[in-house]
């Protein structure tokens, strides 16, 4: 299975050193080759599995319940400003 290690790294927001790239490319290639064995199977008559549990139609009623996490979340934030999380500057889109 083909893949491009630079693209995989970019999508995962990982900055890899050249030697890491070589190592990971090899390892990832081996993993994909292993999984690739599955494609040898004939799945023509098998329904696609989206979940391993034999469950469906699980829902909850539309009821509001406040969570204590709201306060704690900001306590644990690497950076916060008042009631808000603070993140590095995002380019304003205009």
């Amino acid at each position: 299975m083909e893949f491009n290690i630079d693209r995989v790294a970019e999508l995962a927001r990982l900055s890899l050193k050249p030697e890491e790239k070589i190592k990971l490319e090899k390892e990832l290639g081996a993993i994909l080759a292993y999984v690739q064995k599955l494609s040898a199977l004939d799945t023509k008559d098998i329904e696609p599995t989206s979940h391993v549990l034999d469950l469906e139609n699980v829902y909850r009623a539309d009821e509001v319940k406040a969570s204590e996490a709201a306060e704690k979340a900001l306590e644990h934030a690497p950076k916060a400003d008042g009631r808000f999380f603070k993140v590095p500057k995002i380019v304003q889109k205009d």
Binding site: V58, Y59, R60, A61, D62, A70, V87, I90
Partner: protein, 481 residues
Amino acid sequence: MTYEPVIGLEVHVQLKTKSKLFCACSTEFGAEGNAHTCPVCLGWPGSLPVVNEQALKLGIKAGLALNCKVAERLKFDRKNYFYPDLPKAYQISQYDMPVNGRGEVLIETKMPDGKFVEKKIGITRAHLEEDAGKLLHEGIVDGSLVDYNRGGVPLLEIVSEPDIRSAQEAYDYLTALKAILQYVEVSDCDMEKGSLRCDANVSVRPAGQEKFGTKVEIKNLNSFKMVQKAIQYEIERQIAAIEDGEAIVQETRLWNDTKSATFSMRSKEEAHDYRYFPDPDLVAFTLSRELVDGIKKTLPELPLAKARRFIKEFGLSEYDAYTLTEDKKLADYFEGCVKEGVSAKLASNWTLTELLAVLNEKKLSIEASPVPSQKLAGLIRLIEQGTINGKIAKDVLGEMFTSGKTADVIVKEKGLVQVSDTGLIEKAVEKAIAANPNAVAEFKAGKQKALGAIVGAVMKETGGKANPKIVNEILQKKLQN
């Protein structure tokens, strides 16, 4: 060369639920920053999302109202990308098994000559997904602030087919869509509160060509008028570029309303790869016939059907019928008047012009009108019976707003009953003719308009109460002698 625009719209509407799509946090607008958050919508490890039954039902209801094929089986998928408004680094959405498949919306679009033409706009799909958080940039130099109150709020994304051919059609489609969604009560569709958002995909192609041109996505559209303006601008920009021999670049452009133009986002165009996969935290759903049919039974008469009934049953003009039915409460108000037995045409005129003018001035919605439909019907009845004329009726309506009294009572108390006594009117007419020799001379010289000044003088003399029809008759007679 002539070009044909090809437009498709992506509309996100917030579904009217009390709690979020996958957790029990409130969806109420305007709370303190991050007050409506919990481990699920903040994406804490070990938390488990569970689908809100009401959100699913509203999604189905909207789909049925848009004539969509509702899925027998649906699932939720993760759409993966990094952005600070997304705490989990993925958005729970629907990929290949959305709740609603193909559908269509019929619209009546106004042509440049003022006539209405029916047009069918296809719906590609309408799927459920969670909203992202909100980023705040203003006044902050060393970073951006994030509020996750909106994160996890249930949305229905309605994707249209590229069936729209003009900015006006896009506007008409949005108006029709909003009316339908409000009628079936799945969403408030309030753009100011972000409960309706719209992105437009626009391309142009030489007339007659089958293949689509390169499309551009326009964002930052905060009102239907803005959508219309931005699409019109973009159509003209693309045609000019092609005529100049430039190639259209597939990109996202932002509408700048102050400059009335679209601008390229110029962000590093990263290749998007959302790597959708089924969300292992959520199981699939099988929708029973009974459930879907049960929801279908709750659908009310939809706007276009209502408008067509108004035209057929009451003889309203297309314009009036479409305007009245854009808002269900306005349509209900009008029908409430008609049920009182007054003329539908007068009820339509008085609702659409006089009543709405006063409501707009007082910044009141139709359901908050201090003058209910029965009372407006009472006023209309007085006009029909010839008790008061239209001009006096306007004053009476104003009085009804402030005092809350019925038209009958106000007319009696203030002695506003129309004067139809020909003797009295004749005297007033004679006086007016004598006082306006210039106008009389002009009228006799063929200037019909001059009559207005004399009629005005008669009205003034009678305190505005003279029956205008009788005034005209007497005046014509006198002047012809």
